[in-house]
Subunit: 194 residues, 2 copies
DNA sequence: TCCAGGTTGTACTGATCAGTACATCAGCGC
DNA sequence: GCGCTGATGTACTGATCAGTACAACCTGGA
């Protein structure tokens, strides 16, 4: 693939991600993506076998964007870092100009019963959670988390709170439910401190 | 509307709810609903102005089904009742034969950016939460909840945990995230006990 | 019996959908 | 300059979509 082709492919994924984030996958037709990206149909089917493959690329793009928006998640080496992490999440959704919602969470309801897509979403969520788990592991190694705590399960429960907070924040376009859910999640983690 | 018409209308909403629960709203065409319900197109547009109005009826039906599945939510008059409530939720989703997911939560991602649908979903969630709030109010009146606790906000945070737990449980088809999230939610409520 | 209002079957429209066919273009190595 | 390969433009197909038109139906009350 040449640099020109790469740019075109990126433009298609960009436009698709934006449209699918706001309107959902089913409501985002290939034609709309192509109009928004300025590409033609032959490009779309040159770089993607079908719409499903485009959705795959969009899911990956969502995850990369999410992780880039919360840099502290890769540096959770003390309890204060968890507080900074929740502040980063809140800051993202306090910024105006886009709906308050998790791009991955938006797909869960619409596509979660397609086992193929569910597997991709699961993979994305697990990568997201793995950073939380790594942070908890480092705390446990430092003796700041109970030795019998289960970092993977704690990470999963934390993610559940994040997603639930975002879902209600989305419906109400108000960050309060997210802020409260994040506080509860981190309080629960801290309750497992050694 | 005659009893016969009522039955036809109910059959349409039944079929639509089932299909939209599993496949999402956009993937559920009016034609599929009518085939599944055995009704004809003229009935559909006799009882509903358009597909959006059918979705409205489905949202209401989802809420009724959810509340019917957790009867204890209307009798949250001591802390033990909250534990029974979480058990009811888990039991529903431990039963096989249907995907593990919240019907309302499934719609949030797909339709949450349509302000009209978001308002309907918000209304449904508020009714759901109102029962939690009522329970917390009764506990506060009995002196079992701190006088300065905010029942509405606590109810909202609890709902966030429920929804997040269900979202991850959906993607993973495993009730563990839901069980953990429910436990965290109720533990947080109990931390506000007087 | 008759008839009015609620109910139903079927055929249709125009728009949009995902995906395909095929010709042309652009740029890079030779 | 030549030719190959990736990149692109455009026109098309058949399926499906939401919604409409219209005639025919029941069924209860007068």
């Amino acid at each position: 693939m040449t640099p020109r082709g790469r740019r075109t492919r990126d433009a298609i994924v960009d436009a698709a991600a934006e449209l699918m984030y706001v309107n959902g996958v089913a409501a985002t037709s290939v034609d709309k993506v192509l109009t928004a990206s300025g590409a033609g149909k032959s490009q779309m089917y040159h770089y993607f076998k079908n719409k499903d493959q485009l959705v795959e690329a969009v899911i990956d793009r969502f995850l990369r964007g999410i992780l880039a928006n919360q840099p502290t998640i890769t540096a959770l080496d003390d309890w204060a870092a968890f507080d900074r992490w929740t502040e980063e999440i809140l800051d993202v959704h306090r910024r105006a100009g886009h709906p308050i919602a998790c791009p991955l969470g938006n797909l869960a309801g619409e596509l979660g019963d397609d086992p193929r897509v569910a597997a991709l979403l699961d993979k994305a969520y697990r990568e997201w959670e793995s950073h939380l788990e790594r942070g908890l592991l480092s705390l446990r190694d430092k003796g700041e988390l109970r030795a019998d705590a289960d970092p993977a399960r704690l990470a999963q429960a934390t993610m559940a709170c994040v997603q639930g907070g975002l879902l209600l924040a989305h419906i109400r376009q108000d960050v309060t439910p997210l802020a409260d859910a994040l506080e509860i999640a981190v309080a629960h983690l801290r309750s497992q401190a050694a």
